[in-house]
């Protein structure tokens, strides 16, 4: 995403592109681990959806269908909260990558 120079910015910190944080892919912050969704173990309790701090649980129709890796930061809360003995979300290793998010 090209960043504006100080001359290009709207005065007074005003952002006329409200809602543009959707462009900030927080999934790039993930390092080391990512959640894996195992559909056959899912009891559709929606705990993961409720607890996810980044709204990264993918819901289609009225069912949990997986993880939106664009915004998943890999915090692991979904996996901890997942109630079935055979968890529907487990954390698995992910190859390390350089963060390229909102900071220079």
């Amino acid at each position: 995403m090209k960043k504006e120079t100080w001359k290009e910015l709207t005065i007074g910190t005003i952002n006329l592109d409200a809602g543009n944080s959707v462009k900030n892919l927080t999934g790039t912050w993930r390092s080391g681990k990512k959640p894996q969704f195992i559909e056959e173990n899912c009891i559709q309790c929606f705990f993961c959806w409720l607890y996810c701090p980044h709204s990264a649980i993918r819901v289609e129709g009225e069912e949990v269908k997986g993880i939106n890796y664009d915004y998943c930061t890999g915090c692991g809360i979904c996996s901890v909260e997942c109630p079935p003995k055979e968890k529907a979300i487990t954390m698995i290793k992910e190859e390390m990558k350089l963060a390229g998010g909102s900071t220079e």
Binding site: W6, K7, L9, G12, T13, N15, L16, T103
Partner: protein, 393 residues
């Protein structure tokens, strides 16, 4: 037709507020600015103003109300002093960062401790780096005139920066003076209609105001903010000239008094400049070639113009009504001294702190300064680069 009215400084500000009738006025009373708020409240109760008058629970909230109202799209003012301005501190920076042209009248008063209600510039000079334009007034007439011009300057589309107008606590705020009050209609015409820039209440546009900036945008937004106050000088000049054409009293960045052939100069702001003029007259009658330069605008500081006016002097004394503990001289001094640095031949320059907590400064004190300057000019030697006036040593 203007009319002559006998008003004190606070009433002069309130009179300008009545004529301008801002959309929102939010203020919390504090000595010595209380009478501004009190008089506005009375105007509101008497149906003389249409704008909303809000009484919040503190100065912090008063400035917060101003920020909200200004963001919403209104013309906004407040008044305070001393601890009240100090309590507004974090909101002052936010008002400037959001480029909201709020106008504040400040009845300059010292800061605690020790607690003291009298006049000095510690409050507004302390707010020096908050990003507000700062205008200082010598008397009630100037307080009235400056307050009216402040709206035009701050609201200019290239400036869009909050403005504070200082009037010395008690010395001006509570002293009666006969001032020229211009016609309501003429003042309204001079100020003009308020022009909105991205008002939050415009629901046709979706936008975010004051979002969080990290290392990627904060610097650019700050630079963008600085541009506003740096655009102010030509506007301050044009508004001051237009005010002069319309009402007969012209204003610039500073006033020069008997500076034509001066070799010695005293630089002092606000009410003390009035006393200094008498001292200059007396010293002139004794044959001393001395003048006065009274800065009116402290932010943005007109460094080039002031340096140009002072560069031919042999000796200069800058008098500060505030101190900057541990600094190399008080704030006005460091500005003036720095402004002169680029000249190969620089005048000798000294600094005196005076009048903290309302301590008197009299004609005789200015005359003593004048004699010290004469000695410095003669010998080319500066014995003390900064000192204090009328302090028990």
């Amino acid at each position: 037709m203007s009319t002559l009215k006998t008003l004190n400084g606070n009433q002069s500000i309130a009179e300008a507020v009545r004529q301008i009738d801002p959309d929102v006025m939010a203020a919390y009373p504090i000595t010595p600015s209380t009478a501004i708020v009190e008089t506005i409240a009375k105007f509101k109760a008497d149906g003389l103003i249409a704008g909303e008058f809000v009484c919040p629970e503190s100065e912090h909230s008063a400035m917060s109300v101003c920020i909200g109202a200004s963001s919403a799209g209104g013309r906004v003012m407040t008044a305070t002093a001393s601890q009240g301005l100090a309590l507004m501190w974090e909101m002052l920076y936010i008002a400037a960062g959001l480029r909201l042209p709020i106008v504040a009248a400040i009845a300059n008063r010292s800061l605690s401790a020790p607690i003291n209600i009298h006049g000095d510039h510690s409050d507004t000079i302390g707010a020096r780096d908050s990003g507000w334009i700062q205008i200082y007034s010598e008397n009630c007439q100037e307080a009235y005139d400056n307050f009216i011009q402040a709206f035009r300057i701050g609201e200019d589309l290239k400036v869009r920066t909050p403005v504070l107008v200082g009037l010395d606590g008690f010395i001006i705020s509570h002293s009666m003076e006969v001032i020229q009050v211009e016609d309501d209609d003429e003042v309204k015409k001079f100020i003009g209609e308020y022009k909105n820039v991205f008002p939050v209440l415009d629901t046709s546009r979706k936008m975010t105001v004051g979002p969080i900036d990290f290392t990627d945008y904060y610097f650019e937004h700050k630079r963008n903010q600085i541009e506003g106050i740096e655009n102010a000088p030509p506007v301050i000049e044009a508004v001051g000239k237009e005010f002069g054409l319309k009402f007969g009293r012209e204003y610039g960045f500073f006033e020069e008094y008997r500076m034509d052939d001066a070799e010695l100069c005293i630089v002092v702001m606000s009410s003390a400049a009035g006393t200094c003029k008498d001292a200059v007259d007396e010293l002139r009658s004794e044959g001393k070639r001395i003048g006065l330069l009274k800065p009116r605008i402290f932010r943005p500081f007109a460094h080039q113009k002031i340096a140009e006016a002072l560069k031919k002097m042999k000796a200069i004394a800058v008098l500060d009504r505030s101190s900057s503990p541990g600094a190399f001289g008080a704030p006005l001094f460091t500005e003036v001294r720095s402004a002169l640095y680029d000249y190969a031949e620089r005048p000798k320059i000294v600094n005196y702190v005076y009048g903290l907590g309302g301590r008197d400064i009299k004609v005789e004190h200015f005359k003593e300064v004048g004699l010290k300057l004469e000695k410095i000019a003669e010998t080319g030697k500066v014995e003390e680069i900064y000192g204090y006036i009328n302090l028990r040593e």
